[in-house]
Amino acid sequence: MSSSLLSESKDAARSHQSRSPLAFPETGNEFDLVGILLEQQQTLSAVEVFSKAHDAGEFDVPAQAFYYRRLMPATEPRPGQQLAFEVNLDSCSGCKACVVACHTLNGLEENESWRKVGTLTIGVTEPELVVMPTAIGIEPSPVSIGMSGVQHVTTACHHCEDPGCLSGCPVKAYVKDDVTGIVRHLDDQCIGCKYCTMMCPYEVPKYSKRLGIVRKCDMCQQRLKTGEAPACVQSCPNEAIAIRIVDVSGVIADQSNRLMPDAPLSSITRPTTRYLSQRNLAVQTAIPQDHAIDDVAESHWPLALMLVTTQVAVGMILLERLVAGVAFVSGGSLPIEATRLTASVAFAIAMVGMNLAPLHLGQPLRAWRVFLGLRTSWLSREAVLLGKFVGALGAALLLMWWPVFSKYVPDFISNLWPESIVIASWVASALLIAAVLLGIAGLYSSAMIYIATRRELWRAARTLPRFASTGVIVGGVATAFTIALIDNASSVVLPLVMISVISGAVKLFQEWKNARQFDNDNSDRKSLDARSQRLITRQLNVWWRLRLGAGLFGLSACFLAIVSFAIDANLATVVLLAGGSVGLIVSESAERLLYFMSVVYDRMPGTLK
């Protein structure tokens, strides 16, 4: 105890004693007990007495090393090997100290930890036979139903052989160490696009709003380097987590292999963590505590709108080129003004999306490195290709608008262009076609971004038709609108609107039918599709109704536009086409938000919320 504190308090007591007992001290009296107590309260224990005197060199090895030594490998991994977590499920009692130790020892944010512990319910139900106290028949011994109960499962980054985070990252912010196999995230390289949170099937990288980047487990490689055990390994009271050297297999023999029930297929990224258990079979058939309990996923709204707008833009130009081609073949031609306006509107729509997209980034200023991942990342490819699409489209527009604007351009600027170079009239047209091709390639990359995650609800059969149809549905009516503005009697208007109406109606009907089917069919309640559909009709009902309502509105407007076109009500046609375009773009945007928000996927075991 601090001696000063002691004597001070004694003095206080003495001075008081001489006057006590005092029922109530007078206000403002010279003896301020409360003040003394408050002051004492703010004095800390005399640490110079109690704290350990730490002489330099007193500890060569961390004190805790005594316990974790045997949980660590004795050598470095050889070629063809890497480091991996090994979890002994029989020892894990579910205390979750590993989660908190990871958080504390790594200095993570308030609610950040790179470990998580889920719970499995294992074993089937007890036999049907009801044993009342009066019954003679004896219930099977609880020993024989020994395989029921709970099993906790601790999980962190699996430092996969083929890490999804790494291959998906557009800026090479992940590196896999060629000796240890540790998958490390480069925090200063990350642009915060969150694509790794989709590419990692195990939900390992976690986004930090404060930093605008993701962070993840690096197996405490800074500790490993000095021979210390990772935080989770050294904090587990039961020594359930160890670092081991494993052989890198290159393939997963059993394609249906999963680390845990409901977990993603191990064939996707080839995780290296090994779970050991004497009741392996029971664990494999267990049910996670959060089984089929789903939450609405992140909307990624800038991405959703970027997808819809770029698809509409590409769709418009594609359809415009098509009808222009048909017109050309059939001897007519589309007025250049119509082409120019269509391309301009498409450009404007694309620019809205392309400018929204960076809102999705936590670190947009670092995004210039997005080309680095071209070799492996569909996100890099999309970014580059759609960039080129916008570039080609912009160039085409410049050429098409030049005759209009050239007279306003001061001579000293237009004179800069060498007269010897004359741009042929077909160049703008060719640029538009280039834009279409680049756009289609970009959109394909967009779709592949999600297909590559191997999330079942984002499978090609669900993603490609959705993405492609958006371009046709909105593109058709929007192009019809821009052409009708220039030439409201154009023969291409009708087919364009028809394309929209038919494809839009088919798509909407399919979705509605799906919803109905999952609502009525109880047999398939636990499938990912059914779970996703449940999210749509329950938690996301508002968006679902917007999807249907705006879609019906858009389709009705298109249908009326066809009627008014037939009766030559020109102004009405234009207005209805505009209305149809808006309705359908809103509807498609809602569809896309639902695509993101209703996604459910295989995951490692969790707990009730």
């Binding site: 105890m1 008081h16 004693q17 006590s20 007992p21 029922a23 109530f24 001290p25 107590l37 408050l38 004492q40 309260q41 703010q42 004095t43 800390l44 224990s45 640490v47 007495v49 109690f50 704290s51 730490h54 007193e58 961390p62 316990y67 470095e76 009692s93 579910g94 100290a97 989660v99 504390t104 020892l105 200095g107 993570l108 308030e110 609610n111 930890s113 319910t121 007890e126 049907e128 044993v131 019954a135 004896i138 609880p142 020993v143 109960g149 709970v150 099993q151 906790h152 090479k172 000796v179 200063d188 980047i213 800074q222 380097k225 000095t226 050294q234 904090s235 009271p237 089984h291 009730l608």
Partner: protein, 757 residues
């Protein structure tokens, strides 16, 4: 041993990646380094800490005993200029061996909360709480309590205390209230947790003396856990079990298939409250097979014949049938106990919180005694305590026992205590206090009109909670002294006194194995909050009894008084050389007498157990073998309420009423934030309940809506609701163990119905 990666610069985050090293890109394109990377940089730690993040970097460290459960882990506080910036489990503390559960890891975090009480609050005439100064608060306290006492008599004011404050504060509170303020009745929330064990020990051994030391977990070749789930409730004790190298048989007797049961060799998944009959049947079978230590029984116990006759009625087959388990399973348990060389039996709340808990605990004690499994390494009938200072409350709260576990009724004890306290013997009452349940009944009957609640939350935790809340409305004056002003009880108070918490004050806790460990004042209390010790000093002053308590200047001074009080008691600590020695030894188990200190210059051994000489604390030195009739469930399931509700600890990261643990964002991530009830899958199917949906749960006392958790850990006809959620005690049936007064939380009838959204 270590993986020598240090030489590999390509992997070193502290250095920019070298150009030309393999295919790596230059820093311009691929930034391996920068402010965000540095944020997670670890530095070679001093003080044996290993690689340390900046947030934990310390200029010195000190060790304090954890303030959550009674395991009493040592936490290494990382200090910067005397103030704790973080903590890690203490590697060399003899209790936890470098480990801690999540609560311990987050012990400092829960101090920083907007819910902390930072100033006294007084309920104004408009019903709202208004901040006031300490002077006004203390004057109000004295005026109101005195007012109640003068209107309704001295008996009309009571206090409800806790197992969460240090022993010194408990002793101060008990002495001040009963010797200074004339308060007649007071009890602690330890009534809800340890009263049964204390009563059972006292009757059987002659003193409330848990005989064991944690080393026994490692020395047993057979461990029997009855109504105990150390995996969840005491994970660091489970750590010790897993360090047992004797390849022990582990036996669990529990209605739930807990984590501990999963790890057992034999799990007797008995019907609720079948424990006493099963233990008697085991005893009977042990006697029948002559697995008895006859010499020990003859020399050190009394009542064996009565025991034998009594348990003879508990025939295996009928007991097994009633308990819903197989004869074979019980036989295996009997064999394991009978063949074991060092058998230890452990119990926790499954036994204590039972209407026949005292006798059940004694049935466990009987088994240890008759098989001679006591006083040797790896043996004992061992109660695992709940709260960090439950034993402090048992020894020092001055409620049902006179300070230092003396008796109010004995004049010699009163004189001894008066002398040790330097007080007039007349100020010590000759009657004991009412127990918790009687105090609550007193409120109902209008006998108690003023209540002072310290560091506990009865409006959440007391059985049949709605009844209690209603009763609190009958009080003329309710004072709550707590570190948070948002507890369910504080919200009902007339006056709230803001208390400093663990980490903000000094003192000692006594853990489950009788080990005194020190607390540390390493954080500044928020606002005007004062340590309970300081609040008691202030109250003594304002009450006008400052002179009587002049010696109680600081916790260590109080500790010296406690040492004097303990002289010649089984819990004698006169040999301990102050906080300094406690600190150096990693805590010291009682007893440690001045004689011990003289005889053992090297100081106390870190692991000491009781009764190695077979002498117990009754006058004749013999332990008593106590038996009683088995009684049926007071509220058996019936057609209207067909399910038996069990309550208990849900997860490691939740502590009791969650007032503290819910303040930590990390802890909140580790448990379901919404109340849930575990239901057997077959029952769930029958009730058309799907996992994760909301269900309505009704008892004769209340109705709640919680999430269904379909789980194989409960048997058919049973359901489990964690006690941490406020709603749990809206259902429970108010009934008690007649000997200990402990509430029986784990057996009431309910029905569950699906709600349709």
């Amino acid at each position: 041993m270590s993986i020598d990666l240090a030489l590999r610069t390509t992997d070193d985050v502290t250095l920019p990646k070298k150009l030309g090293a393999g295919l790596s890109l230059p820093q311009l394109f691929q930034r391996h380094e920068g402010t965000m990377t540095r944020e997670l940089l670890l530095h070679p730690g001093q003080h044996g800490l290993g690689m340390t993040h900046e947030s934990l970097a310390a200029d010195s460290t000190t060790t304090a005993t954890c303030g959550f459960c009674a395991t009493g882990c040592g936490l290494r506080l990382h200090l910067r200029e005397g103030e704790a910036v973080g903590l890690t489990p203490e590697t060399n503390y003899p209790v936890n061996l470098g480990m801690a559960c999540p609560k311990g890891w987050e012990a400092l975090r829960v101090l920083d909360s907007p819910e902390r009480a930072t100033t006294p609050l007084l309920r104004g005439s408009d019903g709202t709480m208004q901040p006031i100064g300490w002077d006004e608060a203390l004057k109000t306290f004295v005026e109101k309590i005195r007012g109640v006492q003068s209107r309704h008599g001295l008996e009309s004011v009571a206090f409800l205390s806790t197992g969460q404050i240090p022993s010194e504060e408990m002793a101060f509170l008990g002495a001040l209230a009963r010797f200074g303020m004339g308060i007649r009745h007071g009890d602690g929330n330890t009534r809800q947790c340890m009263a049964t064990a204390a009563t059972a020990y006292k009757e059987s051994f002659g003193f409330d003396a848990p005989p064991y030391t944690y080393d026994d977990f490692e020395q047993s070749d057979c461990l029997v856990f009855i109504g105990a789930n150390p995996c969840i409730a005491h994970p660091i004790m489970w750590e010790r079990v897993l360090r047992n190298r004797q390849q022990p048989q582990i036996i669990v007797i529990d209605p739930r298939r807990t984590e501990t049961a999963m790890a057992a060799n034999v799990h007797l998944q008995i019907r609720p409250k079948a424990d006493l009959a099963v233990l008697y049947a085991i005893t009977n079978e042990l006697i029948a097979r002559d697995c008895i230590d006859h010499v020990f029984v003859a020399e050190h116990t009394e009542g064996f014949d009565r025991l034998r006759e009594h348990v003879a009625a508990f025939e295996l087959s009928s007991v097994a049938r009633d308990a819903g388990i197989s004869i074979d399973a019980i036989t295996r348990v009997v064999e394991a106990i009978g063949n074991g060389k060092a058998v230890s039996l452990w119990w926790t709340m499954g036994v204590n919180q039972s209407y026949q808990g005292t006798r059940t605990a004694q049935a466990i004690i009987n088994i240890a005694l008759i098989t001679g499994n006591i006083g040797r390494p790896g043996t004992g009938a061992n109660s695992i305590t709940g709260q960090c200072n439950a034993m402090g409350s048992r020894l020092w709260s001055n409620t049902t026992n006179l300070l230092g576990h003396h008796r109010f009724e004995e004049e010699a004890d009163r004189r001894k205590v008066a002398t040790a306290l330097n007080m007039d013997v007349e100020c010590i009452p000759s009657t004991t206090s009412w127990k918790y349940d009687r105090i609550i009944e007193g409120i109902r009957k209008g006998e108690i009109k003023g209540l002072w609640v310290i560091a506990t939350n009865p409006a959440h935790s007391w059985i049949d909670q709605s009844d209690v809340r209603k009763l609190f409305g009958n009080l003329e004056f309710l004072v709550v002294q707590d570190m948070y002003d948002t507890t369910e009880t504080a919200r009902l108070a007339n006056l709230v006194l803001p208390a400093a918490a663990w980490g903000e004050k000094d003192g000692t806790f006594i853990n489950s194995e009788r080990r005194y460990g020190v607390l540390r004042k390493v954080r500044r209390a928020p606002g005007q909050a004062l340590a309970d010790f300081q609040i008691f000093r202030a109250i003594a002053h304002y009450w006008g009894v400052a002179e009587q308590f002049a010696e109680w200047t600081d916790p260590e001074a109080a500790y010296r008084i406690m040492q004097r009080l303990s002289r010649d008691q089984p819990c004698d600590i006169t040999g301990i050389d102050g906080y300094q020695q406690l600190s150096e030894c990693g805590g010291i188990q009682w007893p440690w007498t001045s004689q011990d200190a003289i005889e053992n210059v090297a100081g106390p051994r870190p692991q000491r157990r009781l009764f190695s000489d077979g002498r117990f604390y009754h006058g004749d030195g013999r332990a008593r073998l106590i038996v009683d009739e088995v009684s049926p469930l007071p509220e058996p399931p019936d057609e209207a309420y067909p399910i038996t509700l069990l309550t208990g600890r849900g997860t490691v990261s939740q502590w009791h009423t969650q007032t503290r643990t819910r303040q930590s964002p990390v802890l909140r991530m580790l448990y379901p934030n919404e109340a849930y009830i575990e239901i057997n899958p077959v029952d769930a199917d029958a009730l058309e309940i799907t996992h994760g949906q909301k269900v309505r749960v009704q008892s004769r006392r209340g109705q709640i809506t919680v999430t269904a958790c379909v789980s194989t850990s409960v048997r058919r006809g049973q359901a489990f609701l964690p006690m941490h959620y406020e709603v749990a005690n809206q259902l429970t049936l108010s009934h008690f163990d007649p000997h200990s007064g402990q509430p029986s939380y784990k057996d009431c009838a309910i029905r569950i119905t699906a709600t349709h959204p």
